[in-house]
Amino acid sequence: MQASDIAASGPAAMKPRLEAASPRYGEKITIALLAACAAISVITTTAIVISLLVPSVEFFGDVPIKDFLFGTDWGPTFTPPTFGVLPIVVGTLSITLWSLVFAIPIGIASALYLSEYASRRVRRIVKPVLEVLAGVPTVAFGFFALVFITPQIQKFWPGFLGDEPGIFSALAGGLAIGLLIVPIIATVSEDAMSAVPNGLREGAYALGATKSKVAARVVLPAALSGVVAGIILAASRAIGETMVVLLAAGNTPNLTLNPTEPIQAMTAFIATTATGDIATGSITYKTVFAVAMLLFVMTLLMNVLSIRIVRRYREVYE
């Protein structure tokens, strides 16, 4: 319909125009582009799972899954090879445990300090520094652990704890990764604490609560879901960390929770085994995929578990 038609036929016959003026191809192209970008990460994840799954399934054709998961002897590159994955799973868990033991209290304490005690000026300086610390290349952390943390541990090792750790130890690796993940826990927790409504703090102060009571009994519980989210993020980072464990904790499969001994983590095994001279289709090749698959399942389970924990314990405020 033409505009002139409306004018000619007068107001009584006027029909408003309701159709779009153009087909608006630009709009459709925009939507398609955005959806394609969003699809990339979904496709990538699916591709990774499939590429892990295929060689893993082949691997379990050669090695019974029971022997893999519960065997305590790990030597897939030896002759004869052994495929009990427990030593390196425990190695990974040990590193993660020690790093969290170190990082959770320090991370939460830093977050409480920044959110509840620090002046605005201090917060403006410290928070970006923490975020930079989280971005330091991990190989630098690994080297730092090797040349600084390990010698300090050896120097100040209290004799009553037994033999001092050697050049590689789960403790040194755990401490270095702990340093690496403190900023993650601190910044994510601090965001959650700052989001706690001021009215809750005032309500507690008005009852005669001290600052520390307000922080520990009101702010921390109200921010708990955010704090747990930060811890999970940090734990996933610790489980997946490679360079630091390789440099600080060694590369020796060792079924132990003793932090003074060297260990091999799953990531370290993958990084040192999956090199260029590995024969495609060999059992060693397939082992790498099986370990990677297991690592993937472990982090997935942890994420699912964490979501349930957060749902169960969080305090909802409006």
Binding site: E202, G203, Y205, A206, L207, A209, T210, A222
Partner: protein, 306 residues
Amino acid sequence: MSELTEERFRERAEAPGNDAGDGTSAAAGGSISVQPDEFHHARDIGELEKVFELESLSVSYAGVPAVKEVSMDIYKNEVTALIGPSGCGKSTLIRCLNRMNDLVPTAEVTGRLLYHGEDLYGPKVDPVQVRKLIGMVFQKPNPFPKSIYENVAFGPRILGMKGDMDEIVEKALRGAALWDEVKDRLDSNAFGMSGGQQQRLCIARCIAVEPDVILMDEPCSALDPISTGKIEDLMMELKREFSIVIVTHNMQQAARVSDRTAFLMVELDATEQNRWGRIVEYDATEKIFTNPGDPRTEDYVSGKVG
């Protein structure tokens, strides 16, 4: 509502040392008028114990004055209302009384504020200790994201109060006229309650620590008229045990609940850049609303301005 209210009024009339309304106002409780049929007759000042004595108290934020030179006495077991237009410093003033302003780093208080004769801003006074004695209920209900029980038990727990916690919680909830509504769901989250219930929970939380004074900063401004009525009834009960200071922008509320009313107004400086609150008149509520001494008060309470 009127039956319940009437009973309360009778109780109040019979209570020793309390000569509030005689019940006739409650019987006519249905009528909506600007002024209550019967004011609480403020007693003669001579026979009253002073809780607070303010002597030219001024508050500023980062050097900018918010309230200037307030002088007034606040009496025990009375409801004292602070009224006035927005920005006249009512909230600032009430937050001085339990040193909540200390939490604002730039706040500065000058002048004198005596609490039972002691300087509340004296060098040895601990604001945490002050707030144990002088509780506060806020404009927006702010229950903790915990169960109803834990909300009430919070104060007694952090203060290490002795006694059976179940009893303390029940007593406080009864005191806030909330027990019958929540006794079967003490473990459910406080956010599941209505706004009015949440505010009464905040009052219960406050009285659980057995304060001496309750400060209320526009406690009903976020509530509907029925919830507001319940809280007003509650205040009549509470003043037998506590002294209450209430900030309200609702003049009818001040007229209904308070014994004494202070009217504050905004003042501008010559450049009209800076504004602060100043007290215009402070007297028995009945006088403020029926025969104010200052024409500005009369304009405000009669609704001509503000």
